[in-house]
Amino acid sequence: MARFLTRETLLKWAPLLVLIALIAFFSIINPNFLSVRNFARLFTNASPALMVAIGVTFIILMGSIDLSMEGAVSALAVIFCYVLLWLGGTIAGFGFLAIPAILLLGAIVGAINGLIHVHLRIPSFMSSLAMGFVGTGAAILMTGGNIVKINDETFRALLTERVFGFPLMVYVALFFLILGSIILSHTKVGRNFYAVGGGEDLAHASGVNVKRVRVWAFALAGFYFSIAALLQVAKLGQAESVTGSNLMFISITSVVVGGVALWGGIGGVWNALVGVLIVSVINNGMIVIGIPDFIQDGVLGIMVIIAVILSTDRRTVAFVK
């Protein structure tokens, strides 16, 4: 028994323990919290943020950061709606082509983001932030500030159809979560993300084409942002220039709370999942147990700090910058 309770094991599972503790805490105060219906609501609202968090996990694993998510999701959501409407407005017809088109576009946008970062030698936070602004600007330009509505019941089935009490979009998110996990553990490029994050010079000396790995990571992140855009449209039935707003805070916070190290090399998509759930459970739980609205932001901030303290092993870190 003692063998399993080493410090490393505890730290590895700490984010999950924090999540379980939070769920237990909110459930005791309001039993409604622990119901299939509430978890369906929680997962539905968290799905787009989870996709963004997974996307940015690939980048953070390399010790870089991608801040283009808000603009990228807005622009991709808007483009998806326009393409879908142009192809007949329903995915029951030719409109379904809009889905692969937008996934491809997401990957291309991500790759451009990566190429700018790698070849122009601009720090990733700056190049991706700038690309994010370009995305928001493009979304404003395309919509002229208006909302694009999608009323296709077939596409909206992602939200309205349920299997075992959960909307279909939750299963889509689950699928891409598992895919992300496979990419990280079973593909060369995925394992190279860890190599670059663990020590870029070492990876380079071992023959890893670091530049190419970086571009791959950004393309993959862009691909996941486009899934987030699809799920946002499925959830809200519309796209506009602010569709991606707020995703930056929740995704970066989640990744860190879930135990992915910002300095790279440690963590994975399951950490991102646990992190997204911790932040969503805190947000959902505060309203369910009735914390006054004017202190909710403060409580969220404090709980995030506590979650980070509990879930990251700072003893292994030489310094924090």
Partner: protein, 369 residues
């Protein structure tokens, strides 16, 4: 070195420097009007340059405001781009700097309409315009202690919209649809925003007059669709089927609420605020019970029109009653019964307004509590 040579060199240096300064100044002053697109349009607006200073282009609301300003400009026989857009991107500093630059470029001969972005910024903006000899009208944001008549004729008017009364009317329709009893949840805007506070107060007033109705909860969703969808689903967990009606402080949040309800297959009466085209369509389809239209097109046009007409001397602000210097814009409640007629009149084609009927649509003098 002799003093003569020293003085000589010193003098030469100075005159060379002065020459450089003079050249730079000359080039700049010659280049600036060119860079801004020339002052050719100015002469056509009676010698006054026109500008609208506002937040951004990312919402239907501000686009409607701007369309009003452009309609006014076109009513003068000018092209709509004769009106300059000063976009402050939510920064008060940029708002003030843009306006000062516009005044300087036109030697003060500018008629400006402006939302100062936040209330304290309205005073420096108005004072800058007065100092330069321009004319300005403001909308929405100004502090309660700042009044156009205290600044003088250059601060022509301030226009705002009361959220309380129309919000109460929307709430009354909601309560009627609930059969006069049951519990309501409210989704509010950013907590410190004046319209958010007023719209919640309107709901509270309606509930006071209906003892069988209670307000279950009111939380902010920051005017945002995504946040509103999450908040509504959290309300459903907390209150379940106790909720009989939903009151939203704007249209965007109502869209999120409707989607959260759709996900669960629940049908509840929902009211909104703003009267955006999408919301009016939803009212027509019966998805939304009511919304409130504030006619931003007229507001945007008349704010610019008042500043310009005062500049031209068509009326003297100080001779007007206070109700003409600080007034509320119109609010129209849109329900299913009148949505069709409303859409035809206001959205399908923009009505042509007589901009010389300056206070025709005013809903009375602004009241302070």
């Amino acid at each position: 070195m002799s003093t003569f040579i020293k003085d000589y060199i010193e003098r030469e240096k100075l005159s060379r420097r002065n020459f450089l300064f003079a050249t730079a100044a000359g080039l700049t002053s010659a280049a600036i009007p060119g860079a801004f697109g020339g002052g050719a349009a100015m002469a056509d607006a009676g010698g006054w340059a026109l500008a609208w200073s506002y937040r951004d282009r990312a919402s239907a609301y501000w686009n409607a405001i701007v369309s009003g300003g452009e309609a006014y400009t076109e009513s003068l026989g000018l092209k709509k781009d004769a009106m300059t857009n000063l976009i402050n991107e939510g920064s008060s500093e940029k708002s003030l700097a843009d306006i000062k630059a516009f005044l300087a470029k036109n030697n003060g001969k500018a008629a400006i309409a402006c939302d100062a972005n936040d209330s304290p910024n309205a005073r420096p903006v108005a004072e800058a315009v007065k100092k330069a000899g321009g004319y300005i009208s403001t909308i929405w944001n100004k502090t309660d202690d700042l009044h156009p008549w205290d600044i003088g004729d250059n601060y022509v008017a301030h226009l705002s919209w009361s959220g309380e009364k129309p919000s109460e009317e929307a709430a009354n329709i909601l309560i009627k649809a609930m059969g006069g009893e049951g519990a309501i949840v409210h989704l509010g805007g950013i907590p410190a925003n004046i319209p958010a506070i007023e719209r919640l107060n309107g709901l509270k007033n309606a509930i006071k007059k209906n003892p069988k109705v209670q307000l279950l909860d009111s939380q902010p969703a920051d005017w945002d669709t995504t946040k509103a969808a999450a908040l509504m689903s959290n309300y459903l967990t907390k209150y379940g089927n106790k909720i009989k009606g939903v009151h939203c402080a704007n249209d965007n949040m109502a869209y999120g609420v409707l989607q959260a309800l759709k996900a669960e297959g629940i049908n509840l009466p929902v009211t909104a605020f703003d009267g955006n085209p999408e919301a009016v369509d939803m009212v027509m389809k019966g998805e939304l019970l009511a919304t409130v239209f504030t006619n931003p097109h007229w507001g945007g046009g008349i704010a610019l029109g008042l500043a310009h007409q005062a500049a031209l001397g068509k009326f003297k602000p100080s001779e007007e009653p206070k109700a003409h210097r600080e007034f509320y814009g119109p609010s129209i409640l849109v329900t299913k019964a009148d949505a069709d007629a409303f859409k035809k009149k206001y959205l399908d084609s923009t009505p042509k307004y007589d901009w010389t009927d300056r206070w025709g649509l005013s809903a009375g003098q602004i009241e302070y509590k």
